[in-house]
Amino acid sequence: MAPSHARPTHPVLSCQSVEKLYGSRSNVTRALDGVSFDVASGEYIAIMGPSGSGKTTLLNCISTIDRPTSGHILVDGQDITSLRSGQLSKFRRERLGFVFQDSNLLDTLTARENIALALTISHVPAKEVVARVEGVAERLEIGDVLDKFPHQMSGGQRQRVAAARAIVTDPSLVLADEPTGALDSKNSRRLLESLEALNADGATIIMVTHDSFAASYARRALFLKDGRIFNEIVRGSKTRKQFFGEIMDVVSFLGGEGADVR
């Protein structure tokens, strides 16, 4: 496969031969084995791969939850592998937005408060918090559930609130870890359309998924296998259906979810 043809902007994320080793000297597991790629500003990429391919480890390293054994990860030109713990929380607060499989909303807070929390932690003035929460809620069409608690919402609504929380701080990178994993197909589609719209508005999104359908919403798909980048395909001007077909080809070649045809 040809190397990526990123848009001609500086890379938001740059992974340079990232390695992650687990285990003791005698029994080493190579979770990541020299992964290198760039993500340009405004890109929407999907990282795919079978279980154990290292995609979650990669996401953990990018999100500073884990540290790579060697190699460098640069976000906006800043090497995050050398950050101290105090700088790490600042980095997470200002540059990253997370969307998890189980939404991870605080059950004691309303949707509005969950979204606002991401801003208040960064000491954004109250007036601005209110305006920005309203704005992002409108974009994600969750205005009507803002005053509900997570347990009063549907799974899809929860994920969209989580997405709203992830982007309300205008992060350099939105990291989504199997965001559709716990949703039915209708709600999945709705969430993916929301993410697509956010991307269209300029958000840079990295989504880890093993769901080819979800991946087909991205502009580019990276395939991991045994800790290495095995393949990369770009959507370009193809339709989503065509892109989905291409992804399925790679997936079945990888021996993954070949039978999983939607």
Binding site: S89, R92, D107, T108, E113, A116, L117, T120, H151, R165
Partner: protein, 703 residues
């Protein structure tokens, strides 16, 4: 094999077991230390009176122990429940691995036993140490000495401690086994996923309830402050009821109210983790408000108990210092008890036969009088003239009624119906003689002047008002004016009550008609030598001479001694009472306080375990460590602080009323004791708070 698993569990999660362990060890330690008081005292060299006091203390303590065992029992079961609840998932894994529920129970039994036995041993060891310290404190309080280093171990106390805790243990064990065997596998496996459903109460309702609770508490305070504790009628019960309901409502609604209030200011609400903290508190208060109310009540009792105990003890000592000016006081009623206002025939009785000269009588009856006493002054209070007519036809109560005085409710209540007696009259020469012997200032009276003699300092303000507003008083048909400084304070006779005379008029000698008999006579004597040396012989001499009439039969015949009071006797008795009261206050106070603190600590720790997920989200959102710590501190702090603040407020009001009583009885203010009590509470309670916060923080950090 199961024992191996059990002991392994204890080793691995020692931190979790530590709360249970500490609670048990603490209980054992305190229980032993206070149970061994009798045996401690055996080592101390002390007088017979003091030994009796220790016996009384032991009796009270053993009665209290039942109460303490029950409280500690609850505490241990509560601590244990926390432990079991945290390990549901672990039990679930045992079951899925094919272990029988009986085997799981068996593991729990072994764990509990292992921790319990070690805690018992450690607790006993600490208890022996504590009792050793207490022994020296006891000796200090009794002003007694311990010769050399003595190691006191009380087998009886140790045995009863072991027995009691074995009992508590058994209950815990039964509780554990039944709890574990009732678990269903599905619940155990899902234990981590099922979070407490957040029930929501309507916020406006919370606001209304909160305001209502404040009103209730306010009304209760007002009722109590206005009517005091001793006034007849439903006031005290009403205040208690109102404050109870008010407090319950307060804790029920406070979090909702605070949330609402903070939300009203977006600048405060949408700042840092404030929102998160408020919601955290609000989500838990649904289940916690009742236990917090209980904690508040226990704290209230602890503060009031410790404070009142200390102040009564100190107050007694203080009033004794004031009340033991003379070495010995002999009081008699030469005309019989004068409470019945019939005219007594002054020519009747042994006193009249002696011409009312008590000192002459004493000299005559006691052969070695001059060896025992170096000085003596007799002071007479006259109610009637020689013909049996009243000298002053005014009762103390009438004077009070004619006086506009806005003192505290308690003093007014105490003065009512308790003062149906005439003002008595004392010749100024007798007063001056007594003053000279006591080394106090003598007074001079111009013709037509008089003074008011009051040795109860707590009534000074009242008498000030009385003499200012009733400047003249009629004595034997003549009108006397109060002198410029109308009140004199000399002690009338030795007493433990802070004073004995209130409402005697000191008048020029000529005002007391010749031939009149005194209704009350006090002979104050000074020993010819050290108090401790002369006392036994002096008391024996009085006993020898008047033992057959003293304090029994007719007051008329008990001349010249109806009551015998000695300074040394009062002091001995008081030091014993101080020890008893102090120990009781500390014992109860410590037990209650530690219970409260433990309950709160356990609540917070179990909450921290449940909160791990929430705090992880905060970290992912990029909240700094310091910010998260602050949020946790606020959360734990509120739980500890709120019940304490409310309890202190309640206690302050209740104590201000108790203070009136204590001050009236002993002339001592509670304030000094309050400072000590507050320090004590802050150290003990604050210590628990700190440990809870740090442990919670490490639970969250570990995750």
């Amino acid at each position: 094999m199961y024992a191996k698993i059990a002991l392994g569990n204890v080793r691995k999660s020692f931190r979790d077991f530590s709360v249970f362990f500490l609670t048990l060890a603490f209980g054992v330690c305190v229980f032993y230390a206070f149970g061994s008081i009798t045996d401690q005292a055996a080592v101390i060299q002390m007088g017979e009176d003091q030994r009796r006091m220790v016996q009384a203390l032991t009796d009270i303590l053993s009665g209290l122990s039942v109460f303490v065992v029950i409280i500690l029992g609850f505490l241990v079961v509560y601590a244990n429940r926390f432990l079991i609840r945290r390990r549901k998932r672990e039990f679930g894994i045992y079951l899925t691995l094919g272990m029988d529920i009986r085997h799981v129970s068996w593991i729990v039994v072994i764990e509990t036993l292992a921790v319990g036995v070690v805690a018992l041993a450690v607790g006993l060891l600490l208890g022996v140490g504590l009792s050793q310290v207490m022994m020296y404190i006891t000796a200090g309080l009794f002003e007694a000495t311990i010769k050399g280093f003595v190691f006191a171990f009380s087998p009886a106390a140790a045995l009863s401690t072991v027995a009691c805790f074995a009992g508590i243990f058994l209950v815990t064990l039964v509780f554990n086994v039944t709890t574990v065997s009732r678990y269903k596998l599905i619940d155990l496996i899902n234990a981590d996923k099922v979070s407490e459903k957040v029930r929501l109460r309507s916020l406006p309702l919370s606001v209304v309830l909160f305001l209502v609770s404040l009103v209730l508490i306010g009304v209760a305070y007002k009722v109590l402050l206005e009517h005091g504790m001793m006034e007849e009628g439903p006031y005290f019960a009403l205040a208690t009821g109102l404050v109870t309901v008010g407090t319950l409502l307060f804790f029920f609604s406070i979090s909702g109210f605070a949330l609402r209030a903070l939300q009203a200011s977006p600048r405060a609400y949408l700042s840092g983790l404030n929102m998160f903290v408020m919601r955290q508190l609000n989500s838990r208060i649904n289940t916690a408000w009742l236990s917090i109310s209980m904690v508040c009540a226990m704290l209230f009792l602890a503060i009031c108990g410790v404070c009142t105990g200390f102040s009564v003890a100190t107050g007694m000592n203080e009033s004794l210092r004031v009340g033991t000016v003379y070495d010995m006081s002999l009081v008699s009623y030469p005309m019989g008890m004068a409470s019945a206002l019939v005219s007594a025939d002054p020519e009747e009785g042994p006193a009249a036969a002696d011409g009312y000269d008590a000192i002459a009588r004493l000299r005559a009856d006691i052969p070695n009088y001059d060896e025992l006493f170096r000085d003596a002054v007799q002071v007479n209070q006259y109610t009637y003239d020689a013909d049996g007519n009243l000298l002053v036809d005014t009762t103390v109560e009438e004077l009070f009624a004619n006086t506009d005085f806005t003192g505290n409710a308690t003093m007014q209540t105490m003065m009512q119906g308790n003062t149906d007696q005439r003002l008595t009259v004392v010749p100024v020469s007798e007063y001056n003689a007594l003053a000279r012997m006591a080394g106090e200032k003598t007074v001079e009276l111009a013709a037509g002047e008089c003074l008011l003699w009051n040795d109860l300092s707590s009534l000074d303000e009242l008498w000030d008002a009385v003499t200012a507003q009733n400047p003249e008083v009629e004595v034997g048909g003549k009108t006397l004016r109060f002198a410029e400084e109308p009140i004199v304070h000399l002690l009338f006779s030795d007493t433990a009550a802070g004073g004995t005379v209130s409402g005697a008029l000191v008048v020029p000698d000529g005002m007391v008609p010749a031939g009149a008999g005194p209704s009350a006579t006090a002979v104050n004597l000074m020993y010819a030598g050290e108090r401790t040396e002369v006392e036994p012989a002096a008391v024996a001499a009085i006993d020898e001479a008047y033992g057959d009439v003293m304090g029994q039969g007719s007051t008329l015949d008990a001349w010249p001694v109806w009551t015998l009071t000695t300074a040394q006797g009062l002091l001995d008795q008081a030091s014993g009472t101080t020890v008893v009261v102090t120990y009781l206050a500390i014992y109860i106070g410590v037990v209650l306080l530690v219970c409260c603190a433990t309950v709160l600590a356990l609540q917070q720790l179990s909450e921290a375990a449940d909160n791990v997920g929430r705090y992880r989200v905060l970290a992912e959102l990029g909240a700094e460590r310091r910010m998260v710590d602050h949020a946790l501190l606020a959360q734990v702090g509120v739980y500890f602080l709120f019940p304490l603040v409310v309890a202190v407020a309640h206690a302050a009001v209740a104590l201000s009323v108790v203070n009136d009583i204590v001050a009236l009885l002993t002339g001592f203010q509670i304030g000094t004791a309050l400072v000590g009590t507050v320090c004590f509470v802050v150290v003990l309670y604050g210590g628990y708070f700190l440990v809870t916060y740090l442990t919670s923080r490490s639970i969250l950090a570990r995750a």
